[in-house]
Amino acid sequence: MSAQYYVSPEQLMKDRADFARKGIARGRAVIVASCADGIALIAENPSGSLHKIGEIYDRIAFAAVGKYNEFESLRQAGVRYADTRGYSYARQDVTGRGLASVYAQSLGAVFTAEAKPFEVELAVLELGDTPGQDTLFSLNFDGSIAEQPGLIIMGGDTPALRAAWSVAWGEKSLPAASSAEVIRAAATVLPGVVEGSNGAPLLEVAILERVSFMGTHRHFRRLETETIASILTSGE
């Protein structure tokens, strides 16, 4: 019979948290900012098909860093949750808060009960009528959830990215800025993105637009590489 060693709960949780943190820090970063014309989601992602940013519902978007298979299954579960809610109640009854709390519960359950915690960090964004009404939730691997005022930076070397962002952005007001300005600033902050239009293929960008592009109920728009390139080169 193998002997069971005693491990204190504190040590167990700390080990799991360290493990998850390491996994997340290895990945590339995502920046989300609420600005005048919508919520801009910018990820450093050289892949054009494996997305880190996704549409969940009319005014709700999702961004993640960490292990692709883990956050992809969470994204799909989120789409199922939102579509089922919207179908059985009404479209306006699908809220970012509801979705974020379901994510928090499942992340928390996996962190304590499963063999290995999810190595992911998520952002659930809900678009309001004005930047002040936008809600940005950040969720951690252990299920802890926080509402962030206007800006989320996650993944990679987060403290260094935060410092780089405050240098690049300065004292400007985010709610007054356009999404194009935010995208240009984010491109300079994300470490792997080269300057100018050559940086566009290395970026994945989407906007939850305050005025929907297609004039429909869906406000999420993924930007094409050409569009990103023209944003990066304009205003320089």
Binding site: G54, E55, Y87
Partner: protein, 258 residues
């Protein structure tokens, strides 16, 4: 063996996890509101689909305002005839099915893929159709791969048939079809096709009591959608009013009685 998740289909997800939410009724053959005539046709840039505004329950007009043509996604529309409540539920579920697929997969379904999904929904309704609760849709859209508009009709067993030029369904469809045979021309522009659709519905309403004609008192006009390379667009009420009034004026001037 790895067990795969429910995949990109919202319908299959509901079937496995939430069957209580599926459009369903255990009611025996009872009198429920029925939706009636839908016409659709191709034109140079895409397709036009139009539906009248009446739902009937036996000899009673159940609704004058019902809308039976729905935009299902950016490039497709569906028109429904049959048991109205069930049909609207199926159209609503179909809208979610397409949007769900697009969000999960990150790409739009092909037009044929959409038609096949709708066919399987109609097939799963067969038991209810046997009790008189049949739902028969007409599906049309712009095929971005082939760069043209296409029409698909269905039967209650889920049979899927591609139609050419034009098609109509519902109780007034025989009369609308007669009108379409005379009015439809090759290479029509959008405004011509819209007029033909409104006129075909006018003829259907003339001979079928379950199809509503233009309502001058309440200012009710058919619901008309066009779908082309730029997407699905609902034709504004003002345009439809002008067309309906024009048709009425022409017919009045002709003074034919039958």
């Amino acid at each position: 063996m790895i067990r795969l998740g429910p995949g990109p289909s919202f319908l299959e997800y509901l079937n496995s996890d939430r069957p209580d939410l599926l459009p369903h009724t255990t009611a025996p053959a009872i009198d429920v509101p029925h939706a009636t005539t839908i016409v659709a046709m191709t034109y140079t840039d895409g397709i036009v689909m139009a539906g009248d505004r009446r739902a009937t329950m036996g000899n009673v007009i159940a609704s004058r305002h019902i809308e039976k043509v729905f935009e299902t996604d950016r490039y497709s529309v569906v028109g429904i005839a049959g048991a109205a409540g069930l049909a609207i539920d199926i159209a609503k579920l179909f809208q979610v099915e397409l949007e769900h697929y697009e969000k999960i997969e990150g790409t739009l379904l092909s037009l044929e893929g959409k038609a096949n999904r709708l066919a399987s929904m109609i097939r799963s309704n067969l038991a209810m159709a046997m009790q008189g609760m049949s739902v028969v849709p007409l599906f049309a859209g712009y095929d971005t791969a082939e760069a043209k508009g296409r029409l698909f009709s269905f039967d209650i067993t889920g049979g899927l048939y591609e139609e050419v030029e034009h098609h109509s369904i519902g109780s007034g469809s025989v009369f609308a079809r007669g009108a379409l045979k005379k009015l439809w021309k090759k290479s029509m522009a959008a405004d011509q096709a819209i007029r033909v659709a409104v006129e075909a519905l006018f003829d259907a309403a003339d001979d079928d009591s379950a199809t509503g004609g233009p309502d001058m008192v309440r200012k009710l006009w058919p619901v008309v959608y066009t779908v082309d390379a730029t997407g699905a667009h609902r034709v504004p009420k003002e345009n439809l009013e002008a067309i309906a009034l024009e048709i009425i004026a022409e017919r009045t001037a002709e003074g034919k009685e039958a």
